[in-house]
Subunit: 179 residues, 2 copies
């Protein structure tokens, strides 16, 4: 699959949109709509030591325009230009919850929805948390929601957590930690 | 958060892009870029009975322009206008793998990346599979990749599966079935 043409149809704050003309291996050509995204980090913040029997994590509950309501999520946000995924994870954790973390452990990097965007999210667990004060942007309205990891897994299974990155962060943390 | 204005900046085959002006609870207003998507279904196809000790599932391996390479995924695709998530799951399973299924079990419905799109994916497990012939679109180039569910979980944990919906389908299936 090779690109023969790329047309930028929108350049925005968060995303840009390209319509690319590509040749398929069977000889046909077609247009693909591709949302360009700088990538993001998301972090599962652990309020207790990882070797606790069922450590608590800190979810946030925030209004999401796309969902038309409130979602339970893990702290997350876009990479700034030149920023590493680790620095982004620590910065977003601090901005959204006020917590600093002394340790990050990578869980995975995944594609959110590769049919139409190149967005990759870097997922981490954060430990060694110390409390400070948060600094939210004007479009961020959120509450803290501490919960045990096993209860968070149950929220994923029951459909109470419906945000993809948060579901993956919770399930992958549980696969690492819970026996 | 209330919308005061919506501007359609692009209408495409797969997605459309709106730039919406919204009022935040703190009295400020801002613009949000929102990719509108009709929604999709994705399905974990089981080649063996669910009560087998470690049933095999059928992954597909396909080239993804957004990833610049091949990804392991579960069969999936967009909802046609008026189509139910269940009918879409069965149709995409059949088109991409040739298999028909007699039974679908819902796993969850989730938001792929609610920061900039309203896309929801409906996730299912399919059982009672019978083989037929597939009917791929010109931009779909794919191979079948049968694997045990426990091996698929390991592919998620090791980073061999990097597609969000597929990771969630595998982990949620394993949480239901594997002991």
């Amino acid at each position: 699959m090779t690109r023969t043409r790329s047309r930028r149809v929108y350049t925005g704050k968060v995303i840009s949109l390209d319509v690319d003309t590509v040749s398929f291996p069977n000889g046909t050509t077609g247009e693909l709509e591709m949302v360009r995204h700088p990538g993001a980090s998301a972090v599962v913040p652990f309020l207790d030591e990882l070797d606790s029997p069922d450590p608590r994590i800190l979810l946030i509950r925030q209004y999401r325009y796309a969902a038309g309501g409130y979602l339970y999520e893990v702290p997350a946000g876009r990479l700034d230009p030149g920023e590493t995924p680790e620095d982004c994870a620590l910065r977003e954790l601090n901005e959204e919850t006020g917590y600093s973390a002394t340790n990050l452990e990578a869980l995975t990097t995944f594609l959110t929805t590769p049919g139409f965007t190149d967005e990759r999210i870097h997922l981490f667990m954060a430990t060694g948390l110390t409390e400070g004060s948060s600094s939210l942007e004007s479009d961020e309205i959120l509450e803290h929601y501490p919960v045990t990891l096993s209860a968070a897994v149950e929220m994923v299974r029951s459909g109470a957590v419906t945000d993809g990155k948060s579901m993956l962060g919770i399930l992958l943390s549980a696969a690492k930690i819970l026996r």
